[in-house]
C-alpha cells in the first residue's frame, strides 16, 4: 500500500490548502501520474497526481483543510 501524500513542492508557501474534489470515487483503479484530486491554495487550484497505479482509497473528504505532506489517501496494488 502506498500513501498519497500532498507533495512538499506542490506549492511554495506555508499556506494550508483545501482538498476541493476527488476526480474519481473511492475504489477506482487509477494509473500512476493520473490527476486524482484538486487542491486549492490562495486562489490557485492544483492537481494532485497518483503516486502509483492501483486502487484508490480516499481518507480525506472534499472541503477538508490540508497541509503539505499530509496523507489524504492510499493506493493499493491490484
Amino acid at each position: 500500500m502506498i500513501d498519497i501524500a500532498v507533495p512538499e513542492n506542490l506549492w511554495d508557501t506555508d499556506d494550508e490548502g483545501v482538498l476541493a474534489t476527488w476526480a474519481c470515487p473511492d475504489g477506482t483503479v487509477v494509473q500512476k501520474g493520473a490527476p486524482i484530486a484538486e487542491i486549492t491554495v490562495e486562489k490557485a487550484q492544483l492537481e494532485l497526481n497518483a503516486p502509483a497505479s492501483g486502487r484508490l482509497k480516499i481518507l480525506v473528504p472534499p472541503e477538508t483543510t490540508i497541509r503539505k505532506g499530509q496523507v489524504v489517501g492510499t493506493i493499493e496494488p491490484v
Binding site: W11, T13, A20, T40, K43, A44, Q45, L46, N49, E63
Partner: protein
Amino acid sequence: MTTASEQLALEERLLEEHATASRARSALLWECEQALVVSQLDTLLPQFEDAARNSAHDGWPVAVRKTGGSAVAIGPGVLNFSVIESWRGTPPALAHGFDLVCAPIIRALAQLGVTGTIGAAPGSFCDGRYNVLVDRRKIAGTAQRRTKRGEGGALLAHALILIDADPGELTGVVQSFYVRAGGGRQFDASVVTSLHECRGNRGDRDLLADFAQSLRLSAA
C-alpha cells in the same frame, strides 16, 4: 459574442497542450456573454443546484471553472486575460503565476494614466492577495490552475478586469448566488471599481478596446 463555458473550455485545452509538451507562453484576451462563473468548491454548497437554476433564470447562467477562488460575475464590460505557461522540473512559485497577469495589467493601466497596485480588497467578491487595486479598490481579480504531466506541467493564470461593467451589479449577482446557495458570504460593492470609474466616468469611446490594446503591448 462567445459564452464563458466556451472560453473556459479553450483555456483548459491550451493548458493541457502546454502541460504535455513545453510550449511558448500563450495569452488570451476575451469578453463573453454575461455569466456567473463559480469554482469547483462552490458546487459543493448545500443549495448549489437551486442557486444555479435561479441565477440562470435571472439571466446569469452558471459556468464552472477549474481555477481557484470563488464565484465571479462576468459579461460585457469585463475583459478576461489569461496566460498559459509551461514548466519543467520544480513548479514555479505561486506568486510568479499571479505576476504573469498582474504585471501587464498594471503597466496597461499606467498607459491610461491609472496607478494600479497588488493587494487584497476585503469585502470584494473572490478576494485574494493578488488583486489589482486602484486606490485600494479592486479593479481586477485573479486565479490560477496548475496541471502536472510527467516531469513538467503548465499553469493557467486568469484575470478579470472591470472596464465599464457596473461593480454594484456584478457584486449583487454574486451576493444573490451565495444567499441562495447557502454560502454565507457578505460582499461590499464599494471596494470594487472599474476603469470607467477610475477615469472619472468620462465618456471614453471604446475603452475596452483601448485597454485591450494597451494590455497586448504590455504583455508582449
